[in-house]
Symmetry: C2
C-alpha cells in the first residue's frame, strides 16, 4: 500500500515532536507500506517570517514572500528525514521543486497545475521514505518558488496522493478527527467514523478548520480517500470519502457554527432588474467575499430589503461601500449588525429526507431563538441568529437531531 | 560599473541591519551602478539549524544538512529584496539555483563548477538589484541543493563577480579591512590600502579570518578585484588585488599569529627512506590536517626527530595515533606540546629582499623568545614559539619591520 502522511505545524513543533513523527512514519514503513511524508513548518515559524517581512514593509513583494515563507517547510523536511534515518530507515527530503510540484504564477496562493514526481517514484521503489516540504511549488517557466496559501500543506498532501495514485492520504493534526459538533460546546459530541467530501466541504467552509477547503475540493475531484487523525495518539480518526448508502441513512451528520461574519442590510431598495447585480459586482470589485445573500420582496411590492453577510474583518469597509451604492440606487438606508452567528446543519441524508429544515427552525423557535436569515444548499441548512445564542443553538440542534446517541458511527 | 556586494551574518543580523544594507545597496545603484548583492544567513541562524539537526542525529545525512542549512540564506535574500523595494528600487531575490550556481556533488563543502546567471543578467539590464542567497548551489544532474562550507558566501560573491565579469567585488564585514596585525594586540596596527592575493591567502590561512581562503584562491585565479570593508561605516577598506610594483617595495606587509595549533614531536626516528611517508599517510587517513613539518637529521647521523603541528582540537587524537606509529617504526618516543603559537611575517617583497628571515629571528632572539620550529614559503616566514610570548612577538615584529609608521599605505 502507498500512504501519504501529512503532519501539521503542531505535529512538528519541536525536536521531540519531529522524533515522534519519524517513529510513526517508520512504523508504517515497517508494516510493509511505501510512505510519502508531507510536513508543514514548525509551529510559529511562518508567522515569525511574516512578522520579519512586515517590519520591513507593509506591502512586501509576493514573489519574495513566497521565497521567504517556503523556507520553513524546507527546514522541517530536512530535519524529519534526518530523524527517520536516525531510526535506521532510508529517507530523502524533497523540496516542492524536487517533487515536481508545478503551480500557476499567482504568488502566495498558487494553484497546483501538475505534479511530475518522477524522482520520488524512483526512490520510493528503492525503499526510501520520501519527505516532502509542504505548502510550496514552482512556476513552470521561470521556476520561481510559489506557496499555496494558508493550510497549503494539506493541499500538497492530497495532490501528491492523487499524483502517486496513493491508497490513502492521512492528515495528522492536533484533533482526533471530525466531530458532530465542537466538543468544547457539546461535551457529548461524537467523532464521526466517516464523512462525505461534500459534508466535509460544508463543515470546512463553515469554520470547522480541520482540513483546508481547497484540499477537500481537490480530494473530492480526484477521489482521494483522506483520513483526519491525531499525531498525539493512535485513535483511528475520520475517513473523508465518497458518499455511500450508510451516509444517506443519516439525515444530519453535524452542527457547525461561525461567529466571524457580520450582516449588512440595504433597506427599501427599488425593485428593479439589475439592482442586486450592481450591488454585488461593486462589492466583489473591492475584494470583499460575500457569503449568504437573502432578498425578500417588500410588502408594498415596489421596494425590497437585501441582506448579506461578509467576514467580520471586512464589515466596516463593506458597510461604507454599501452606503455609497445604496445612495446611487435610491435605497432608504443601510444597517450593519456584527453580533451575529451562523448556525448550520450538514448531512447528505437531507437529499432524501424531507422536513429537515422545518425541524431545525422549530427547534430554534422552541428555545426562543429568532432567525434573521436562512440559506440552504443540497446538504446544508444555515441560519443567522443573534450571536449570544450560539452555544445554546448548537446544543439544542445537536440534541434535537440525536447526534450524540444514534446516527452514523 | 557592475558591483557585487556581499554582506556577512553580522551585517544582516536583524531587521535594522538589513535595512542599513538595503540603504547602502540602493545608494550604490543610484550612483549609476548595476548591483548584485550576496547575503549570508542572519548571524546565529546557521548554528541554530545545525544544533537542531544534532539533537536528532550525531551524524546527519549531508544531503539533508545542505537542504536544511541553505534555508537561512534564502530567508535573508528575500528579506533584503523586500527592504530594497521598500526604498523604491526594483529588486529580485535569487536562490543559488535561480542564479544558476552549479556545483559538484560533495555535500556540505561543494565546489562551484559554473555559474550560468542568464536570468540575473537579464533582470540587471532591466534595472533590478539582484539579491542572491549565498553559500549554496545545486548539483547538475539531480538538482540537489549543496552548500559551499563555512564562509561559503564569500566564495559565492567572488564566483558571481567572476561569472558576471564585475568590476569589483566588495566583501562587507564587521572589520574595516585588513590590518598589518591584530589591533587588539598592537593598537598602532595600520589598515592596508591594498594587499596581493598571495599575501591575503597566507594571512587568511594563518587565522586572520577576514576572508575565506577558497574565495581568495578563486579571486586570484580569475583576477577578481576584491575590497574588504565594514558594513558599519563608510571607511574605504582594503583592496585585495594582483601584485604590483608598489607592493614589492614593501618587504613585510603583516604579522599574523595562530594559537590554535599543537606540536607533536617523534623522537629518535630511525633515519630510513619512507619513514616520514608512512607517518604522515597514516595521520592523513585519520582525517587530521597537518600544517608545518620539520625534520632534522639527528646528531648521531642514524636517528632523527620529526616535529609537526596539528589543530589543537585534534591534538589528542593525533598524538595517540602517532604513538602507535612510533612504536611500529622503532622510534624512541612522542611528545605533545599544546602551549605553542605560530607567528608569521607575510609580504611579497620577500621575493626580492634578502635577509628578511634572519631579521625576524634576530628580533625574536633579542627579546629572549626561543624558536622551536621554522617554516618558510616564498612570501612568508613562520616560527613556532612558546604561546606565552605570542603578544610580545607580534609587537616586536610589528615594530621591527616598521609596520605602523612607514611601509605600504
Amino acid at each position: 500500500m502507498l500512504v501519504v502522511q501529512k503532519f501539521g505545524g503542531t505535529s512538528v513543533a519541536n525536536i521531540e515532536r519531529i522524533r515522534a513523527v519519524a517513529e510513526r512514519v517508520v512504523k508504517t514503513a515497517r508494516e510493509g507500506h511505501k510512505v510519502v511524508v508531507v510536513v508543514s513548518a514548525m509551529a510559529g515559524e511562518t508567522d515569525k517570517l511574516i512578522d520579519l517581512a512586515h517590519q520591513l514593509s507593509r506591502n512586501p513583494s509576493e514573489r519574495e514572500m513566497d521565497l521567504l515563507l517556503s523556507s520553513g517547510e524546507r527546514v522541517t523536511s530536512a530535519l524529519t528525514a534526518i530523524a527517520i534515518e536516525e531510526l535506521g530507515h532510508k529517507a530523502m527530503a524533497f523540496t516542492g521543486r524536487q517533487m515536481g510540484i508545478i503551480t500557476d504564477t499567482v504568488h502566495t496562493k498558487a494553484r497546483i497545475e501538475k505534479i511530475t514526481a518522477d524522482r520520488a517514484k524512483r526512490v520510493l521503489d528503492e525503499g526510501y521514505i520520501v519527505v516532502v516540504a509542504g505548502f510550496q511549488g514552482i512556476t513552470e517557466g521561470k521556476n520561481d518558488v510559489t506557496t499555496l496559501g494558508r493550510g497549503g500543506s494539506d493541499l500538497s498532501a492530497v495532490a501528491i496522493a492523487s499524483a502517486l495514485d496513493a491508497d490513502l492520504c492521512e492528515i495528522y493534526t492536533d484533533v482526533d478527527g471530525v466531530y458532530t459538533t465542537d466538543p468544547n460546546i457539546v461535551p457529548g459530541a461524537r467523532k464521526l467514523e466517516k464523512i462525505s467530501y461534500e459534508e466535509m466541504l460544508e463543515l470546512a467552509s463553515l469554520g470547522a478548520k480541520v482540513l483546508q477547503t481547497r484540499s477537500v475540493e481537490f480530494a473530492m475531484k480526484y477521489e482521494v480517500p483522506v483520513v483526519v487523525r491525531s499525531s498525539f495518539n493512535d485513535n483511528p480518526g475520520t475517513l473523508v470519502t465518497k458518499e455511500d448508502e450508510d451516509m444517506e441513512k443519516v439525515v444530519v451528520s453535524g452542527v457547525a457554527y461561525d461567529k466571524n461574519q457580520a450582516k449588512i442590510t440595504v433597506l427599501g431598495v427599488p425593485d428593479r432588474p439589475g439592482i442586486a447585480a450592481k450591488l454585488f459586482k461593486d462589492i466583489a470589485s473591492a475584494g470583499v467575499v460575500v457569503d449568504m445573500i437573502v432578498q425578500n420582496v417588500g410588502s408594498d411590492g415596489r421596494a425590497t430589503d437585501i441582506s448579506f453577510t461578509v467576514p467580520k474583518t471586512e464589515s466596516r469597509k463593506a458597510s461604507k461601500l454599501t452606503e455609497e451604492i445604496a445612495k446611487e440606487l435610491g435605497a432608504k438606508g443601510v444597517t450593519l449588525k456584527e453580533d451575529i452567528a451562523k448556525i448550520s446543519i450538514v448531512g447528505v441524508g437531507m437529499r432524501t429526507h424531507s422536513g429537515v429544515a422545518a425541524q431545525m427552525f422549530e427547534t430554534l423557535a422552541a428555545h426562543g431563538i429568532n432567525i434573521m436569515m436562512i440559506s440552504t444548499s443540497e446538504v446544508k441548512v444555515s441560519c443567522i441568529i443573534d450571536s449570544k445564542y450560539t452555544e445554546l443553538a448548537v446544543r439544542v440542534l445537536h440534541d434535537g437531531f440525536e447526534l450524540a446517541a444514534a446516527g452514523r458511527k
